[in-house]
């Protein structure tokens, strides 16, 4: 019988991987760093989504609602008043948490596809709002913010890596903590979990807040990396699809699988540049094959291989 890795072991292995990736800037080009920077932020999106879906059991088609709210709040604030970036980040995160609460209200009432629709509609309304309130948001052209954190590729990379590592650590720790257990039980069988004496609504609400916190903060940080907030980057359903696909092919209910999925998606898209226009097609096809043949994702595949040894 195979023994699962303990939380500490996983954190140790992850720390090692992070340490190795941290010295990458001394070896690889700025371009690959830029690629990984984006992949790390996407990884955080995917991990935050996994907390909601994999643990709390909420099918959220609109992770970009939380991300978009965070990103645009931070961007608009910077554009209007140019406070220190840290203030913008805090405001974006806060707004995303409020968004998370708004989203959580129907989630406590609706199940499955019905809640899924609400999240979808939330994204559509947000993107409509961005276009309609073009004065404030820059419309579908996008909002260019005056400040970025830094233009140095190495610094940006380390920032994203650090943020991803810390977020991943916290989310993973939470998922393995007593709260993670309760959340998972709530997602699987809310009636029984209630009867065990747990306030399922309270825990789900907490999951929404945590997920919104990381989604919003990551979104806000990414605004100050790109220097621009646009519907196509932060809100659009295609971005939501990428996040969900990253989390699913990385391995659901693993938290850290989301990072693997994100790095794979963005890396594959890049590696496939030679096939030109077909790269998205090929990446989708690979992801579909993973979903069809390896339903537990990369991490599931990995643990199967380990089990076979």
């Amino acid at each position: 019988m195979k023994k699962r890795l303990s939380t500490l072991q996983v954190l140790a292995i992850s720390a090692l991987v992070v340490a190795v990736t941290a010295i990458l800037p001394f070896f690889v080009s700025g371009y690959i760093l830029g690629l990984l920077t984006v992949a790390f932020y996407f990884g955080v999106f995917a991990m935050a989504w996994d907390l909601l879906f994999g643990f709390a059991g909420e099918v959220n088609f609109g992770p970009t609602f939380l991300i978009g709210v965070g990103a645009y709040t931070a961007g608009i604030l910077d554009n209007l008043y140019q406070p220190p970036i840290i203030v913008c980040l805090a405001a974006g995160t806060l707004a995303a948490i409020v968004g998370g609460l708004v989203l959580a209200l129907p989630a406590l009432r609706l199940r499955g596809p019905y809640f899924g629709l609400i999240t979808l509609v939330a994204v559509l309304i947000l993107s409509n709002f961005v276009v309609v309130a073009a004065e404030l948001t820059g419309g579908e052209i996008g909002l260019t913010v005056p400040d970025v954190i830094t233009v140095n590729a190495d610094t940006n990379y380390w920032l994203a890596l650090g943020f991803m590592a810390v977020s991943g650590g916290i989310l993973y720790f939470l998922s393995r903590s007593p709260i993670g257990l309760i959340l998972q039980a709530s997602g699987q069988d809310p009636v029984q979990t209630n009867a065990l004496g747990f306030n399922v609504s309270k825990h789900k609400l907490a999951a929404f807040i945590v997920s919104a916190f990381f989604s919003g903060l990551a979104g806000a940080l990414m605004v100050f990396y790109f220097g621009v907030a646009s519907v196509g980057t932060f809100v659009d359903l295609t971005v939501a699809v990428q996040i969900i696909v990253a989390a699913v092919i990385g391995g659901r209910r693993t938290i850290i699988g989301g990072v693997l999925g994100a790095v794979f998606l963005i890396g594959a898209n890049e590696a496939l540049r030679p096939v030109g226009d077909l790269s998205t097609f090929v990446v989708s096809a690979i992801a579909l094959v993973v979903v069809l043949l390896f339903p537990s994702g990369f991490l599931g595949l990995l643990s199967r291989l380990r089990g076979a040894e």
């Binding site: 879906f53 099918v59 129907p106 009432r109 609706l110 499955g112 596809p113 019905y114 899924g116 629709l117 609400i118 979808l120 509609v121 559509l124 309304i125 409509n128 309609v132 359903l237 295609t238 699809v241 969900i244 696909v245 699913v248 226009d277 077909l278 998205t280 097609f281 989708s284 096809a285 992801a287 579909l288 979903v291 069809l292 339903p295 537990s296």
Partner: protein, 291 residues
């Protein structure tokens, strides 16, 4: 005048919504599948019709027929390559199959969309209408194609109603949507019922796609919004309920048209989205939802 305009224009667009949503809800009602490649299939049908006519000069009728055929073939491929393997998979827990089918059909839709963009660019295309010209109804100049669209939509819906309520095979489909076990116990192979449903769905998708291509035009970008709108209409009406979808399609269609006429075309979709949220809060199972 404005009243008549809204009435007539709203009717055509609503009929089209209704036809698109009917197939979507039928497939959910019978086999429990939410097919997120719905929009991509519709676009593929429309582009098929467009391509045969524009690239090979086949004419409007042949083009439309080819478009519908494209829809049917791709729908069956969707079922056999994407949906069926997941439904049969022993490695995925039953309660997780829903999210897997959602993800897989989503990816499949993107693949179709990308292939269309690759071969035919993502420019918007409109299918050559079978009928051209305009007609005056109640002093509103209405394109003949709009009337044609509404008629075909209703003919298709009526035909569907007839098949489902008046033929043996159709009855089995209807029965299976209420109780698949009951159908099996009466000696009807569920697997053939499923194939029949997917074929019907394919026809509906094909016809809706081609009509959409004639009426409004499509591009590979339309796939996502089309799926989203079918999804909202179907959930609004109550998942699996065909009459519910019809009502929801008209509610959304008219709400959009009224907004476009009386407020501003820029806000067209917003009230409909708010309506969805409102209904979800008041009636969490949709207008006519049962489960």
């Amino acid at each position: 005048m404005l009243f008549w305009q809204i009435l007539i224009d709203g009717f055509a667009i609503s009929s089209l919504y209704a036809l698109g949503a009917t197939g979507f809800t039928l497939i959910f009602g019978v086999s429990g599948v939410l097919n997120l490649s719905h929009g991509a299939l519709m676009v593929a049908a429309a582009v098929g019709a467009w391509a045969l006519n524009s690239e090979l000069g086949a004419g409007a009728y042949l083009g439309a027929a080819f478009g519908v055929l494209t829809g049917i073939v791709l729908t069956l491929v969707t079922y056999h390559v994407v949906v069926r393997p997941l439904q049969l998979s022993a490695r995925i827990r039953e309660e997780e199959k829903e999210i897997f089918i959602l993800t897989a059909t989503l990816l499949w839709g993107i693949m179709i969309q990308e292939l269309i963009a690759y071969f035919f660019t993502n420019n918007a295309k409109s299918v050559l209408p079978v009928v051209a010209g305009v007609v005056r109804i109640a002093n509103v100049r209405t394109p003949a194609n709009e009337i044609f669209t509404a008629i075909i939509c209703w003919v298709a819906i009526a035909l569907l109603w007839f098949i489902v309520n008046r033929t043996r095979a159709g009855k089995s489909v209807l029965a299976a949507s209420m109780n698949p076990r009951g159908v099996t116990l009466l000696g009807v192979e569920l697997s053939s019922v499923y194939i029949a449903v997917w074929v019907i769905y394919g026809v509906l998708v094909g016809v809706a796609g081609v009509l959409l291509g004639m009426f409004l035009g499509v591009s590979s970008y339309s796939a996502g919004p089309l799926t989203a709108s079918a999804f909202s209409i179907v959930v609004l009406g109550g998942l699996g309920s065909v009459p519910g979808s019809l009502i929801a399609a008209y509610a959304v269609g008219y709400l959009e048209t009224i907004t476009a006429y009386t407020i501003s075309p820029a806000y067209r979709t917003i009230p409909a989205l708010l309506l969805v949220i409102l209904v979800m809060y008041l009636r969490p199972r949709g207008l006519l939802g049962r489960r």
